[in-house]
């Protein structure tokens, strides 16, 4: 099989690309990282190297395809694995809807990086913390959105919590359902080592 390559910015554990990395670890898929500098030089680098059609990253090369847009990439990988999604139409919808809410969170998080807003934590973080908590309280049979069954959205929400923590804006205290999610992802066999190394590299 051809090599799997992830193109993203050198942002450490921040940003959209890291969710794809985490998920590739979970799926036990080896990949190579190609890192770009996240600054005003990116558009001209992209033009010269023809990396991204949309001008944005991540881009994942896999199965002889170039895949764009991080949530659609997660869903492609889930279907490929035949796992990590809901089973019924309504379960699939729930996973999709929470990813869409995560996406709205991400838009605000990115805006915060460039234009710091003093009430980011009090408004944005608080609002999404409540929404995520609400959804993760639905099925208390396990730590994931769908109870004991992990799905792709759990990795996205895990990274949202992590990225808010990284920029010093973690919800305080973190709600019980989200604490459980965090602990469960941290303990997953395929990502445990990766996440532990990532934490010490910070």
């Amino acid at each position: 099989m051809s090599t799997v390559t992830l193109h993203y910015f050198g942002l450490g554990s921040l940003g959209r690309g890291e969710i794809v990395r985490l998920f590739l670890h979970e799926l036990n898929i080896d990949y190579e990282d190609v890192l770009y500098t996240y600054d005003e030089t990116w558009p001209s680098v992209n033009k010269a190297k023809d990396v991204s059609l949309t001008g944005t990253l991540p881009v994942l090369e896999i199965d002889d395809l170039r895949l764009y847009q991080h949530l659609p990439i997660l869903r492609y990988l889930s279907r490929r694995a035949g796992a990590y999604d809901g089973e019924t139409n309504h379960e699939k919808y729930l996973v999709d809807a929470v990813s869409d809410i995560y996406n709205d969170w991400r838009t605000g998080w990115v805006a915060q990086l460039t234009a710091k807003s003093p009430d980011y934590q009090a408004t944005h973080v608080d609002k999404f913390h409540r929404l995520f908590t609400d959804f993760y309280s639905r099925d208390s049979s396990g730590p994931y959105l769908l109870g004991n069954k992990p799905t792709y959205v759990d990795f996205a929400v895990f990274q949202a919590l992590d990225n808010d923590e990284c920029i010093g804006c973690a919800p305080n205290p973190l709600s019980e359902p989200l604490t459980k999610l965090k602990e469960a992802v941290l303990a997953r066999p395929n990502v445990k080592t990766y996440l532990a190394e990532r934490a010490t590299a910070k």
Binding site: Y76, R79, Y93, A97, D134
Partner: protein
């Protein structure tokens, strides 16, 4: 009982602007009758708490679709729910499903920019963002020769892309030159039997 089986769409009185219209168009195309409730956009912040309490929207935002006894929010996930329910309007292989999903995600990024540019579209939006968006989307369309994203089979993303063209035109931001693939899509959608008359009725007069 019969009345309750008709889905209800809650959105704003914004004509064809905004996220809700994508769902209206989709439902009409699919031949699904629905109750079309249009809230006043101007007074929504007062009403939104009430709707949150009723569970119609957890986020305080619309659209919300009540169907099969469940409440659905987030407009693109709603389109995918409906597509799965109907067993139509999506790709069949993993790669085709991805193409539809990726274009829909481009549209979601477009929508966030559009919302920020309704009042007075910025030069950045008009001259940089939009040409890039339409070119990227057209590239996907060119892979299957149109008129729809996957060729002659329509999918949920086609309605979303169509609405981006419509909504950009209505705020006076639409690039004068659109990629041929996008023009072709537009014509194909406007000729669809279930929605052609509806679209025509609502199109601004082209003087």
């Amino acid at each position: 009982m019969a009345a309750e089986t008709i889905p209800t769409l809650h959105y704003f009185d914004l004509g064809t602007l905004g996220r809700g219209e994508v769902i209206r168009l989709f439902l009409r195309d699919a031949g699904i009758e629905f109750k079309d409730i249009r809230h006043r956009y101007g007074t929504w912040s007062v009403e939104s708490d009430k709707f949150k309490q009723q569970g119609i929207t957890r986020t305080g935002k619309l659209p919300a679709l009540i169907i099969n006894g469940t409440i659905l929010n987030q407009h693109v996930p709603i389109l995918r729910y409906l597509s799965r329910d109907l067993g139509r309007y999506d790709g069949e292989t993993n790669h085709k499903k991805f193409q539809v999903d990726a274009v829909a995600d481009n549209y979601i990024d477009w929508r966030a920019q559009w919302v920020a540019n309704i009042g007075n579209p910025s030069d950045d939006y008009k001259n940089k963002f939009l040409p890039m968006y339409y070119a990227a989307v057209a590239k996907y369309y060119s892979e299957n020769n149109g008129p729809y994203l996957l060729g002659d089979k329509i999918t949920y993303a086609d309605f979303a892309v169509y609405q981006s063209v419509d909504n950009d035109e209505r705020i006076g931001a639409l690039p004068t030159e659109l990629p041929a693939e996008i023009v072709k899509l537009r014509e194909a959608i406007e000729g669809r039997p279930n929605i052609a008359a509806y679209i025509k009725e609502n199109r601004p007069n082209k003087a």
